[in-house]
């Protein structure tokens, strides 16, 4: 009995030590490499890297001062508010050193020692190099200081406790670096570094488990709070670019539009705030990496043929509301309106984006290659759920398209006009 107790005690001690080790390992292992070089060049590089990570998208509240935080990120566990990254000593990161930023990026711990919520995507940023982290630090410290206190997160118990967060980290977070693959080109490696590190593509394009941890593969994921689906970059039926010309992938990231494709929803935000500002070399590298991702062709599942009445109703609505722009045969208009016939974004298994596009409409992002964009009306104000279900079911099955029908319930569950925060 006594021996059993001792063994039990030892096991508990080992578990606690493991728990602690899992949360604190690999800290202070990567000292700063910044030499007293060209400070302005370092700041400029940091500004560029901040674009690559689109840091401002989350660290700037709508209409608020740049990088002063306060933007609410809705999660299934509650709302996490981004923090003030300006160099204000009281409310921002004015007293931080480059070591502190590095520990946040690489280990997910704040200057005061708190574990950070992975809404700040440090499972990706851990792969960012110390040199890039230092450049980001130089840039953030060059910004005008804004006095704006951080807002407390609004998370439910037990997700609001550091202990639970430590458990999450022990289970799902591993500090790491980008491992260069010697058998791949330097361009491919640069692309992999940007996609899996600062670009944090997997934050949306990977599925999340019940506790919100992502997979490494970019197999597509629902964004439950936004009501969008980030399509799989492996599936040929979704958003794989393996068969694409590299320059078309570059165009999509740079301009938001490419032959046969355009970005919408959260990806429009990524292009507008992030990728349109990247160099052609880096975009080329990302395209090279993305095109190399292993593909799988989702075996076309037998879909239930769409109900004839629903189809007819959808056809009627399409002729009245959609055909002027998207064409009677869903052929679209080059450089204005996307074709719907043969468009993966229309026939994708998860119909969320198609419904969302009809509900919210939108403009493609305004970029150098897409100035004065054309827009689509938000039909949430013009059609009811049944009508939207009918027209979406129609476009998913007209002109040779083949996909599941959509129900009014699916339309209703996405909410009406709740896209922008």
């Amino acid at each position: 009995m006594k021996r059993a107790l001792v063994v039990f005690g030892v096991l508990i001690c080992i578990a606690i030590l493991l728990f602690i080790w899992l949360n604190f390992r690999d800290e202070d292992a990567h000292p700063s490499t910044v030499s007293s070089g060209d400070a302005a060049a370092l700041v400029a590089r940091g500004a560029y890297l901040a674009r690559a990570g689109n840091c401002a998208a989350c660290h700037t509240a709508r209409g608020g001062a740049a990088y002063a935080g306060g933007y609410g990120i809705a999660t299934p566990f509650g709302t996490v508010y981004s923090s003030n990254l300006t160099p204000d000593p009281e409310t921002g990161i004015g007293t931080w050193t480059s070591d502190d930023l590095w520990r946040a990026m690489h280990n997910g711990r704040s200057k005061d020692g708190r574990f950070l919520y992975p809404a700040f995507p440090y499972p990706n940023y851990t792969k960012v190099t110390r040199a890039d982290s230092d450049a980001l630090f130089a840039y953030l410290h060059s910004l005008p200081a804004v006095k704006q206190p951080n807002r407390d997160h609004n998370l439910r118990f037990p997700y609001n406790t550091q202990f639970v967060l430590a458990g999450w980290r022990a289970l799902f977070f591993r500090p790491g670096v980008h491992e260069t693959q010697a058998d791949r080109s330097s361009e491919w490696n640069r692309g992999a570094y940007l996609v899996s590190g600062l670009g944090h593509c997997s934050a949306c394009h990977a599925s999340r488990n019940a506790l919100g941890a992502t997979d490494d593969a970019l197999n597509g994921g629902l964004m439950p709070m936004e009501g969008w689906y980030a399509p799989s970059l492996h599936a040929e039926s979704e958003a794989s670019v393996s068969g694409w010309k590299t320059e078309n992938v570059v165009a999509l990231l740079k301009h938001g539009v490419a032959p046969g494709a355009s970005v919408m929803g959260p990806m429009a935000e990524v292009v507008y705030g992030g990728t349109q500002h990247l160099s052609d070399d880096d975009l080329h590298a990302m395209a090279t990496y993305l095109a190399s991702l292993p593909t799988h062709n989702n075996e076309p599942k037998k879909v239930q043929p769409v109900d004839r009445n629903l189809y007819a109703r959808g056809e009627e609505i399409y002729a009245k509301r959609c055909a002027d722009c998207h064409g009677e045969q869903g052929e679209g208009v080059t450089n204005m309106y996307p074709a719907l016939a043969g468009n993966r974004a229309v026939t994708i298994t998860v119909p969320v984006n198609t419904i969302r596009a009809v509900l919210s409409g939108g403009f493609t992002p305004e970029t150098e290659g897409n100035p004065r964009p054309y827009g689509m009306p938000p039909f949430a104000t013009l059609l009811n759920d049944e009508e939207i279900a009918a027209v979406v079911s129609y476009v998913r099955n007209a002109w040779g398209n083949e996909a599941s029908a959509v129900t009014a319930w699916e339309v209703g569950s996405l909410g009406r006009g709740t896209a922008a925060k």
């Binding site: 054309y374 827009g375 104000t381």
Partner: protein, 247 residues
Amino acid sequence: MSLHVYRLRTLHAAVCSAVALLLVILAIPAQAAPPQDSMEQRMLACTACHDDQGRKGPDAYYPRIAGKPSEYLYNQLRHFRDGRRHYPLMTGLLDQLSDAYLMEIAQYFSELKAPYAAPERASLPTSTAERARELVTSGDKQRDLPACAACHGDALMGVQPAVPGLLGLPTDYIRAQLGAWKSGTRKAAAPDCMHDIAETLTPLEISIVSAWLSAQPIPPGAAPAPHGDKPPKECGSVLDAAKGARQ
């Protein structure tokens, strides 16, 4: 075969050909004009609700935007994009558009000249309508409440470049805006004069002023006044527009 019969046959053939031609013409489906490289085409995202001439929308809530002063429209577009006015569908549409494009959009709609729809039916009892008219045209000096007309023009059609007209709008829309200003959910550039004014108004006053404004007839050719007098209150939007004009 006599000449007479021959003539009849020719006539018969001619009639048949004409009918056949007519049938062929009728059988060609009415083709919509192909999309044009124009602002009108680009703005279809807006005109679905704000009407093809920028008038009020299908459920009689959306405001008319045709012919409103350009700087006013530009300010509203930025307010929606930057979170000072709240309507998710508007915000979502404008999220990835630059100031320069928003200005072009504002100018496009400000130059649209669409006829006004008939005003809403007058619903106020005479004495209430008189009280509303007094508030609109004279304000209430004891409460430091300026007349609507003092800033929005004697004709209430707005003043260039940044003060909107108040006529030709749905009651519900006007009431909702005054309510939003009172509660602080609608904001404009500081100093936000409309917030101060709406705070002074009682809910009843907001209701009767909204109903009165929406029932006013609009004379043909009515347009924003080119210049206004000095506004009785400092308004950030007007000051910003003046600053912009000087630059």
